[in-house]
């Protein structure tokens, strides 16, 4: 019934199409069926099904004991999750927009993340915190951020960034079964994107990158939705005779350094791309790791593509220019090839 993908295994695609949000939702249906200790809590997750439809149908199947609406109290919501998890339940806490983590970050980074370590090991905190991240919807500076860099910098947390419906399901299954606090970052612009999603329950191991596309001239390491853009850029560049390998780390904590470095060694040129602002983003971490390990293989410095150093602007015109896209990635690939 339950498949956990082995490292490097190619997951079975069945042709069954589901949206990203439905895939996440199906994962929850399935893990809640298999484990009575899983429950979902957050603002408007039960009666309304979540503002992004993430929780549709769950109240009907699992009832109000396992699907809980709360007051607007993010710190207490996460704190409740921490307390319940420390007692062996497996809470899925919904914090709606990723930006709202700022009102409850203490419970995430000082409590959930550190509890096991500070306690000397005698506790498990199997907590999933789901947030909707990313720009591109005209939601403005306080509803559009990609803050994975804060979380991946926090020992004790794991951070998943699915870029496809397939991954949204498989990573969510793993997240819920994991005995550590996991931040599940769903990209708002991908919610309606359809993809191949097997009906059976399956788990995608954390720390296992996926090669979205093989190539030989340049590697693009792309986080979250940027994997989709990178794949499109690769497609376009193929027409120009440039062969691009696209690597999606799937989780940024843990990070599959091996897979990234292996690709770097193969292509000798790497572009790292994420939605977050470049300065202080994980592009720096990934670039530094690659450079440290594969310095002699690099024909050019690792290139980083991210957002410029400003809050996310509202105007669609500005926002479109702000968020990296396939054109920016393709341009980056061309540039790095010229440079080396």
């Amino acid at each position: 019934m339950t498949a956990t993908l082995e490292k490097g295994a190619t997951p079975a695609r069945t042709g069954r199409q589901l949206t990203y949000v439905k895939a996440y939702n199906e994962a929850l249906h399935q893990v809640m069926r298999e484990d009575e200790d899983v429950f979902v809590i957050g603002e408007d997750v039960a009666g309304y099904g979540g503002v992004f439809h993430m929780y549709d149908g769950l109240l009907t199947e699992f009832g109000p004991r396992r699907m809980i609406d709360t007051p607007i109290s993010e710190a207490a919501i996460v704190g409740l999750g921490v307390g319940a998890a420390s007692r062996g339940l497996r809470p899925v806490v919904d914090i709606m927009f990723m930006d709202f983590l700022a009102v409850c970050l203490d419970q995430v980074v000082n409590q959930a993340a550190k509890m096991k370590f500070m306690f000397g090991g005698d506790v498990r905190v199997p907590l999933v915190i789901t947030v909707a991240s990313g720009a591109g919807l005209g939601a403005g500076a306080q509803h559009s951020q990609s803050l994975e860099a804060w979380l991946a910098h926090t020992p004790g947390l794991k951070v998943a960034m699915p870029s496809s419906a397939y991954d949204a399901k498989g990573l969510m299954v793993t997240a819920v079964r994991d005995d550590n606090p996991v931040i599940m970052m769903l990209n708002k612009k991908l919610l309606g994107a359809k993809g191949d999603v097997p009906e059976e329950i399956y788990a995608i191991p954390f720390g296992q990158a996926t090669t979205v596309r093989e190539g030989s001239d340049v590697t693009v390491v792309a986080l979250g939705r940027m994997a989709v853009e990178a794949a499109a850029a690769a497609e376009q560049l193929a027409g120009e005779g440039i062969s691009v390998e696209v690597i999606d780390p799937r989780t940024v904590q843990p990070l599959d350094t091996d897979a990234i470095v292996a690709s770097a060694r193969k292509t000798n040129r790497v572009v790292v791309v994420h939605e977050a602002v470049t300065f202080g983003g994980l592009g720096g971490e990934i670039a530094a790791q690659i450079t440290d390990i594969a310095f002699d293989h690099l024909d050019a410095p690792v290139m980083r593509i991210g957002a410029p150093f400003s809050p996310v602007p509202f105007s669609p015109k500005l926002e479109n220019a702000y968020v990296p896209d396939r054109a920016a990635i393709a341009a980056g690939c061309r540039r790095i090839l010229e440079r080396s």
Binding site: E43, D44, G47, Y48, G49, V51, D69, T70, P71, I72, S73, E74, A75, D99, F100, A102, V103, L137, G138, A139, G140, A141, Q142, H143, P308, F309, S310, P311, P313, F314, S315, P316, K317, L318, N320, A321, Y322
Partner: protein, 339 residues
């Protein structure tokens, strides 16, 4: 008193104690909100506006009544549902609509959008996308008033749902302990998004929470602009007199969905409930009462409507003609660079 989220049982609006000028002022503020929001809703439904839109229609009496007690020197902070506060405080239609379209002539030069409209020249310290975040900022504005002793005060608006978040508690206590000139205005529309009040708190009156801070409070009819103005005026007076913060809760209702115009999903409210509240529409109530009492004539009100509609039409045309911001300028205003 109206039960939030339930059937309104308030008495008819009063016009007592207010002169024709004051009534007309309240009316004008409400109509401007109603027209602005209705037009914005129409534009959104037509797919012309990017982003989110939290409309204020139904709650006009609160912003109008409260803002009628303030001057431009007084500061307000607002919420995600901020258009009503901005309009009532005196914001102009042109830069407001331009901002909704994300244009250069918008209040935020297209950078902010609906949830960040602000106008410092009239003491509007901004809408806010984070529930509860405006409360401590208003306390800070009040601190500046106190520090300078300039006689100005601050006012912060927040919903029933926001009264459950930590910043509500911290801001109220801070203001009380420091005895700052700030008025906390709770707009209780009975819902936090799709969750009715009874499921997000156990008290009927948010105002009762003021007791935790040793703060005076009162509840008023949020469909009656006169009642709101009178209640808020008492709090404003306390603030100006140096007697510290107060809380006013206005029982009100939003006609449209939490976001946008029409709810697309589960009916978390009944049509019956909506209709009952609409029967006590703040603008209609005020007009009917003023006419019945012979204070103002129908024609005066008609003029306000006509003028406001014309203003909106002009402003929308202006907004549509306003240029889009230039992507080359994306780093503009991230920092203040030179003094």
């Amino acid at each position: 008193m109206a039960k939030a989220g339930g059937t309104p049982t308030l008495e008819a609006a009063t016009v007592e104690g207010l002169g024709a000028d004051e009534l007309l002022d309240l009316h004008r503020r409400m109509v401007r909100i109603r027209v602005f929001e209705t037009e914005a809703g129409t534009l959104m439904e037509a797919g012309e506006l990017p982003g989110f839109l939290h409309l204020y229609v139904g709650q006009e009496a609160v912003a109008a009544g409260a803002m009628a007690t303030l001057t431009d020197a007084d500061q307000i902070t607002s919420t995600h549902r901020g258009h009503g506060h901005a309009v009532a405080k005196g914001a102009q239609f042109r830069p407001m609509f331009a901002e909704l379209f994300g244009r250069l002539d918008g209040y935020c030069r297209g950078r902010g959008g609906s949830m960040h409209i602000n106008d410092l020249s009239i003491g509007m310290l901004g809408a806010n996308g984070i529930v509860g975040a405006g409360l401590p900022i208003a306390v800070g504005a009040a601190f500046a008033s106190w520090y300078r002793g300039d006689g100005s005060i601050a006012m912060t608006f927040f919903g029933d749902g926001a009264s459950n978040i930590g910043t509500f508690h911290e801001a109220a206590n801070m203001a009380a302990v420091l005895k700052l000139p700030v008025v906390f205005v709770c707009e209780n529309n009975g819902y936090a998004e799709f969750t009715p009040q009874a499921r997000h708190m156990l008290l009927e009156d948010v105002a009762d929470r003021a007791a935790s801070y040793g703060m005076p409070s009162e509840v008023c009819d949020g469909m009656d602009a006169v009642a709101v103005k009178l209640a808020v005026a008492r709090s404003v007076e306390r603030a100006r007199a140096g007697d510290g913060p107060s809380m006013v809760e206005a029982k009100t209702y939003r006609y449209y969905d939490h976001q946008g115009v029409k709810g697309l999903r589960i009916p978390y409210r009944t049509q019956e409930e909506i209709d009952a509240w609409k029967k006590r529409d703040a603008i209609e109530l005020l007009e009917a009462r003023a006419v019945a009492d012979g204070v103002l004539g129908k024609d005066v009100f008609e003029k306000v409507w006509a003028q406001t509609r014309a203003d909106a039409e002009d402003a929308i045309a202006f907004a549509k003609a306003s240029p889009e911001p230039d992507p080359a300028d994306v780093l503009l205003n991230v920092y203040t660079t030179e003094a």
